[in-house]
């Protein structure tokens, strides 16, 4: 009797929790992002409607703002996605004992990408890819590689070797051990790397303007060139808010994926 009662309450509790968490869901996933987007938009609208300066009026149009925002987001998304697509499998491969000797090379090369200043990379690779989107994507991709690779490796290596041996001892297939044990347990650290990479890329993407790839950097550079604080600030504030937004969303993806705690 009491057992039945316990089970029931546990089930009800679960239901209540998931119901309650709908409110929480809206709060967590939507409220803060909406505030951030609202703040950015509000800022831009305020400047656009309150300026009397023709140069500012001419340059700072809604169309231009939206275009810059979309370009910026596209640069970050595409480059981050490509970086994950490279670094995650690469990290997994060099975490296998038999490919350990590749580690020095791969980490060394990605490290170079990280050390050379972004503006230099943009300049360097302009020679290969010309001006525009492709070069920017390449530079951002190169930047995002190391944090993701390093964290993938560290995450997988942080899994208790006893746990992995237990899995082997029970006759689990090595592939299944990777996907069911190692990666889930390493996920927190891996996600940390992805977060770092994306946030860095939001900032670095502001430089893409120098090779004509657009983004909020257009506003900042134009603002500087024309000595119009309003334009510069709009670009800078938007970039900053986008970085906060990205970090916020990714931290919640992370929390969602890792529900078991330690």
């Amino acid at each position: 009797m009491s057992e039945v009662a316990t089970t029931l309450t546990t089930k009800q509790m679960n239901r209540r929790i998931s119901f309650k968490s709908f409110g929480e869901f809206a709060l967590r996933w939507l409220l803060v992002p909406l505030i951030l987007i609202g703040a950015g938009t509000g800022f831009a609208v305020y400047i656009i409607t309150h300026t009397t300066d023709f140069i500012v009026k001419d340059f700072l149009t809604y169309d231009r703002l939206i275009a810059a925002g979309l370009e910026h987001i596209k640069l970050v998304l595409v480059s981050s996605f490509l970086a994950i697509a490279f670094s995650l499998p690469m990290g997994i491969i060099i975490s296998r004992p038999r490919f350990k000797r590749l580690e020095k090379w791969v980490v060394g090369i990605t490290n170079v990408g990280q050390t050379v200043p972004s503006i230099a990379i943009l300049g360097l690779f302009m020679g290969f890819f010309g001006l525009g989107f492709k070069t920017a994507i390449f530079a951002l991709w190169l930047y995002a590689l190391l944090p993701i690779l390093r964290n993938t490796l560290a995450g997988i290596r942080s899994v208790n070797p006893g746990i992995i041996q237990a899995a082997h001892g029970m006759g689990m297939h090595p592939m299944r051990i990777l996907f069911k044990i190692e990666l889930p347990l390493a996920l927190k650290v891996i996600m940390g790397g992805i977060r770092t990479a994306v946030v860095i890329n939001v900032g670095t993407a502001a430089l893409a303007t120098f090779i004509g790839a657009g983004g909020f950097g257009d506003l900042i550079v134009t603002g500087l060139k024309l000595s119009r604080m309003e334009i510069l600030l709009t670009g800078a504030v938007s970039t900053a808010l986008l970085a906060i937004l990205a970090d916020y969303l990714l931290s919640h993806v992370e929390a969602k994926l890792i529900s078991y705690g330690d």
């Binding site: 057992e3 041996q165 001892g169 006759g171 705690g261």
Partner: protein
Amino acid sequence: MIELQSVTKKYPGSDIPAVNNLSFEIPEGEICILVGPSGCGKTTTMKMINRLIVPTSGKIKVNGTDISTVNPIELRRNIGYVIQEIGLFPHMTIRENIAIVPTELKWPKKKINQRVEELLDLVGLDPAIYADRYPRDLSGGQRQRVGVARAMAADPPVMLMDEPFGALDPINRSRIQNEFLRIQEKVRKTIVFVTHDIDEAIKMGDRIAVMRQGSLVQYASPGEILSDPADEFVENLVGKNRTIKRLNLLKVEEAMEDILILDSTISLADAASAMDKAGADIAAVKDSQGRFQGVVPKKRIRRALARSWQTTLSELADEPDVVVDLDTTLHDVLSEMMQAGEAAAFVVEANQCRGMLTLGSIVETVSNNE
């Protein structure tokens, strides 16, 4: 059956073998305990049996097959493996943990769930409460039960257990040992069990393999190890109090005395005379359905009669302080008696009083078994 034939393991970079020319056989359905000081090669020996470690030389056969000729993954799915503490996967529920091997074997989902619940029941955890919890929500003892359940999931004929009850306090440890022996009585698996603890070895083992620096020093039954240690090393391992250790080997059944059982409905005078006739100082009282109610000393009945109290046998009977099962070891009984400060223990199973133990009966049993 498990056979080791001249098995040696040298780890790379080490001159001294971790396991040196080990040969012994574990008959089907028996528990073999590997015991010895830290670093003597127990874990290494065990891991060679499921090929987590490959021997440098020698041969290991499981149920007649040389294990070096079978696919290690296949082999391991037929050998249950219990590891100390860290064994459970922290990101999986208890259900998912237990279901690992059946899932690998591609059992249908329904069968897996049934099996998980059956196993949780077997190790004394209510599936409705525990199946969907995570390991961190369980106590150490509960986790070790899950570890045992998980190793038995696909009903492997052979089990390897590396200090499975190592992290437990003495009381829980003793309890889980008893439960495990009860389960083993039913399932009769061939078990290799590693422990540091000689008391545990004596209690759990059909055979004990005493190891020292990678070599086998003695391989014998617990009784033989106690009465006839092969050398000084084994003697020291067993310790000075070999007679006391023997208490781990003997069960309540062997030292139990009969007890007079009285119906709660008879008069006090009848009770007193029945006890006189039987020469009993204490008797058990059962109710009209035959259920055990308690015990009553003759003195108390006499006093009630002398003062002509208006009372019944049930009212005079007390719940005893020390109640044990038939298969409790004398070691555990004695320690409970000491703790309670009682000179007698009562054997109650399925609501029936089966008998009693006194210090005298225990001493006599031990000395007869020397």
